[in-house]
Amino acid sequence: MVEGSKGEAYLLVDVGHVLTHAAYVARVEGVARLVAVAEASTTRTAVEGGLLDGVRRATASLELLAGRQILDRLGEVRRPSDGDGHGVDGVVVTTSLAPLLRVALVGLTEDFSLASAVRAATLPCVSLERAISLGLAERWQAADIEALLQRPPDVLVLVGGADGGPVAPLREMGETLGTAYSLLPPERRPTVVFAGNDRAYKPVAAAFAGVVEVTAVANVRPAPHKENLGGLQAELARLFGGRLCRPAGLQQLAGWAGAVPRHDLDALARTLRFVARRHSLRRGLLGVDAGANSSRALWVRPEGAALTWAAPYGVGAGLGALRALGDPTAVVRWMCRPPSWAEVWDNLSNVEVRPGVVPETDEDWDLQQAAVREALGRTWAGAHAAWAGWPGEGAAAGEAEMIVARGTVFSHARTPAQAALMLLDALEPAGLVRLALDWANLLPGLSGLAALDPEAAVQVFDNDGLLELGTLVAPRGWLREGARALRLRLLVGGEERAQVEVRAGHLCRVPLGTNERGRLELYPARGLDVGLGRRGRGGAVEVRGGALGVIVDARGRPLRLPSGDEVRSAAFEAWQQEIDTP
């Protein structure tokens, strides 16, 4: 199908480490809608039939739910769609399984060119393996160079010097690496990208002559106070795109879908940028993804590149990274009724080795949600610390206007309130923030759909894309438990809907339905800041409702958990009850 044309039906597939999700989108009376979603276990080994088996199973489930035939008898996609509604006009595949681009950076000064290169390489598709600078001794360390030889990266990026600056150190590094890489078989040699001082390009290219081609892109730091990351970012994205389908399973999937799979985080960033623009979220939007193998965070604003962060903490195989922290209380502290920590870690280890299992008992649900809080909390802490060092947008990363969460743990949470409480505990958002869930695991696929049929993508997003949980009011600061924290009055259509007083240490919900808007008058206590300028300042704001309405979290920021086991268990149960009750 021609990109940008109008089709009748589409299949969106998202292949994760544990589950493969499929969504069927079709035009209903001229408007594109999400008709059905289904999931199946991801099949990865050759014995299981490779990735395609899992995708076919998810699609077969979709056929039953949608009452449409999407696959033919051979398991191939039926296309184009016919007059009876069978078949599809396009397939979009997103995946987190694509191997990341392993990048090593070599620069002269840690604080200038190398810092810029690190920022440029902070892309969803990049795993930054090593960043080497001349250092204080102003010479290359043999151990650093040896490391680049023992395990060559996929891409070696050389940066350094303002335009017209020194050439010798880069040439010297190029000569050593060029000689060393010439000894490796060609398939092990990295791709070399030069993004430094324009004068140094020719000597560096000469040093690698006959060994590898050196691609030149714009200097990431052409002047001490000027940064230019676009060229390097575009080149890294291009190189990643070229390697995406190298694994046999993804190649087979690409052939079946008739389209190159997209990296899910990159696709998610594109959709979230659209969300930020659509909702005019000038302060930015925070996306979080709690996966089985890792957790990721994205900071997206209407303009500019997205900031991304991935941590190895997950709720499946990624539980191993939490265990490796060596802190036995790490997950236990979030549990309502914790058994012994040894029992907790035995249970978590069993989930780690069999990530496809699902919780069945209350204790198991409690354990899973505790693990999500720990994994996401640590991921967000890492992201916040890393982004805080960025000039401009990074510093504002904690001031999101909206948080969008995705992951099976959120979409399969027993109630939307439980999903919201996991987010509040893990991320501790403050001020006025809208909360939403990618309930159908649809957001990455929508960016691919937008390339095929922009109108359909917008219509599906508007109608079915997000489950809006509501608007959160979470004052910064801390008061003693039980003190009056906040008084609020909610007006809908000029009429008073509710007037509530919230005590410190408690949560509260005020009903305001999905797509409803209201005027919220806030009167915080003197020590608390609700994001209206300074501590104690109240005011009136327009708010949007959601599945949970307006959520008031007066537990204080930063969140302090009670220290005694029994008190903490009682507090968790009380909070769960408060957020469950409108």
């Binding site: 276990s41 010479r139 040896e146 078989p185 035995d346 080795v353």
Partner: protein
């Protein structure tokens, strides 16, 4: 989620295809159709030695472009550890020596690159059987009729040797005192392992590996550190070995088995034990994946029933979710999520 097809974790008789692959390109020594023994070398390659970089110019305190004047070696020359690479300074009193034995592979920007000795890698079949496929320049696939048990966790590595049973029953805990010199070169089978001393002794006495039903959570790291191949068949913690698995392993005591620890980065492989059989007796379960059906023997994989074994009484599909009613050995039937079940046989 629907009731999906699932593969069994236990086969009394099946066909095992075992892939053997070199870490780099090499030479294949067998062809399709050849019969191989476990110790047959099927492929061979020369592994390049690691490169060491010696910053000679820096050590001598000279300009990088003047290095050639001070060098005592040339490209292609073999050097021994401690051999002088360059001399400089007044009367040549400053010397730079080779940190390792190897070959001078290159000289660039004031540095000498020494490539350590290459070594030969010989890839053994590790499974008696027939070569059914060759992976050109990389390895072979060997096929054999065997009993096969797929584990839940493995510590990596691969070994082939005789099985020795060290537990009376599937719930017995391995005791360190029982691990003696008779375990050398053998695969130890036990109900569960909760004591680090068991792993320490098995590693010290050079046992080939361990197959247990359950392994204490903290012992996973110990197994990895010791480089001991451990296969956990049922779960982490004080989980007993499922009885059908224990019975099968007990039947094969004294026979040679192939232990695959999983965790390989290059090939997605499940941790497993395969015991080659001399002859096919009874039906051969090639066992394609299939959904669970009434009567299937299953293992439960999530608390509170983790490790329990039972029989499927019914498969229930409601609103896109699948459940199964399972009669547990020796207790009341329970309803559990389909995804928390594994087929045994």
């Amino acid at each position: 989620m629907k009731a999906e097809p699932i593969a069994s974790r236990l086969y009394a008789q099946t066909i095992v295809e075992h892939e053997r692959r070199l870490p780099g390109a090499g030479q294949l020594l067998v062809a399709v159709g050849d019969q191989v023994e476990s110790r047959t070398v099927v492929a061979r390659s020369e592994a390049q030695g690691p490169l060491r970089i010696v910053d000679v110019a820096e050590a001598l305190g000279i300009a990088r472009d003047r290095l050639l004047r001070y060098l005592r070696v040339e490209v292609g020359q073999e050097v021994q550890a401690g051999e002088v690479l360059a001399t400089g300074g007044f009367m040549g009193w400053r010397t730079v020596t080779a940190p390792v034995a190897g070959c001078v592979a290159g000289i660039a920007a004031g540095r000498v690159l020494i490539e350590e000795q290459a070594h030969t890698i010989e890839l053994r079949a590790n499974l008696p059987g027939q070569v059914i496929r060759v992976l050109p320049g990389q390895g072979v696939v060997i096929s054999a009729v065997a009993s096969r048990i797929v584990g839940a966790w493995g510590s990596g590595g691969e070994a082939y040797g005789p099985l020795v049973l060290h537990s009376q029953g599937p719930s017995d805990t391995l005791r360190w005192i029982g691990i003696d010199v008779a375990c050398r070169g053998r695969i130890i089978v036990g109900g569960r392992c909760l004591d680090k001393r068991v792993l320490l002794r098995a590693a010290r006495l050079r046992a080939l590996g361990l197959v247990v039903g359950g392994l204490a959570e903290h012992l996973r790291a110990a197994a990895l550190e010791l480089g001991l191949i451990v296969i956990v068949t049922d779960g982490i913690g004080a989980v007993p070995m499922a009885e059908p698995i224990f019975e099968l392993l007990a039947q094969h005591e004294g026979r040679d088995g192939l232990l695959i620890g999983g965790r390989s980065e290059s090939v997605a492989r499940l941790p497993q034990v395969a015991i080659p059989l001399d002859a096919v007796r009874g039906p051969l379960h090639v066992a394609p994946e299939r959904p669970l059906v009434v009567g299937d023997r299953v293992r439960l994989t999530r608390a509170p029933y983790l490790g329990a074994v039972g029989q499927v009484l019914a498969v229930i599909e409601e609103e896109g979710e699948a459940w199964a009613r399972v009669s547990l050995d020796g207790s009341e039937p329970v309803v559990v999520a389909y995804r928390n079940l594994e087929r045994l046989g």
